[in-house]
Amino acid sequence: MSLRDVVVVGGSIAALTAVEMLRMEDFDGRITVLSDEDVPPYTRVPLSKGVLAGTESIDDVVLAPLAEDVDLRLKTAATGLDLRTRTVHTTAGPVSYDGLVIATGGRARRLGRPDQDERVLRSHGDCARLRDDLATASSVLIVGGGFLGMEIASTARALGKDVTVVDVAPPLDRLLGAVVGGHVRSVAAQTGVRIVVTDGGVRLLGVPRPTGVELVDGTRLEADLVVSAVGDVPNVEWLAGSGVQVHGGVVIDSSCRVAPSVVAAGDVTVTSGGDGTLSRSPHWTNAVEQARAAVRALLHGGAPYRPSQYCWTEQFGLDVKLVGDLDPQGEPAVLDGSLDQGSALLAWPDALAPRSVVALNHATPPVKLKRLLRPAAQGVPA
């Protein structure tokens, strides 16, 4: 069967890449993109940096526009899916398809109660609000020390704010491992950021606007501005009752297939390892790779994709790129430079067969980092 009418639900990089790939693969039928956002696709990556700092606007981060033959419908949220009749229900009425790409991404996870007006950072709207709040705040408390939380901390500190980060584990360790995570934290601390690691969760204080958190031992941390950066939640509610399998995300196989003529890509997905394991990799490059694989599966049948296993962060003047497994354990082999010198190329568990490589302020392109990985480790999900 040849597809004539592909609908892509979503408006970020996975959706955009899927559209791109459809045309690259010479699909000449109709493409409709349904996005609940009010602006064309943009990159979220600078939202915690230049856009939050106010040195860049949304116009600077909009991605190259889609071709004119693509029907991009903004402010059109999907509300339901009928696999049998091949219809996506939306806030603007039903849309029929013969091929469907699910790329609805995620939204910021929240910690507080519904009556708390929590500050988060995911969309450009979140960013604009946070930027305005930041302008009038002198102290900022960030809950969550992942890439996003620490990047917000870096931006806020550079703006001269009094910054505290609280997490249940040492920030960044889960991603970069203790060696590099520790290094970034020490640089952050040198700039004046306070890092609080607490045993157990935190409770968000203040209604409607959060004013602080309470730790399990009763300690209270307070600030003019409290930001939750505690991960994301896949946007799957519109698929309820559709028959699409959802387990903390839309379950896809190794070729990004969901159901006949339905594929999915990006932060909305969890990948089934086939042996009951589910893994999630909500990073930019994974969204790109998955979108390409998804379209290939839609047009030609499935072929497993190889996750690129690449992620990065920029904060406190440090540019950190990681390929391979997250959270590398133990002491790395030093391939070049040193952390003390401020520029290093590091490999775990050893230099001969690395499963993780980190470049810190080191001008090695990711493609070269990937080549350093032990060949057998490539293609194995993190």
């Binding site: 990089i13 955009l16 990159t43 990556v45 790109v288 990065w312 790129k321 392109p365 493609v367």
Partner: protein, 68 residues
């Protein structure tokens, strides 16, 4: 078609090169360089695809005339 590369924005992620090695390259400092002043017509689609995957929006596609 021309590509405008903002070398100050570029962070060297190399997705453009992965996508369209005929159009993009990274220099020794892992900063994007363009292989063509003007993108050859046959590579325009790939050039656009490479620009679109840039996570920091450092690449802009500029149409040079009103050709369709």
């Amino acid at each position: 078609m021309r590509i405008a590369a903002d070398r100050d924005r570029c962070e060297g992620h190399g997705l453009c090169v992965d996508t369209a090695p005929e159009v993009y390259d990274l220099d020794d400092d892992a900063v994007v360089v363009l292989r063509h002043e003007v993108v050859p017509a046959a590579l325009e689609r790939r050039a656009e695809a490479g620009a679109r995957v840039c996570p920091v929006a450092a690449l802009r596609v500029e149409q040079m005339s009103v050709e369709s």
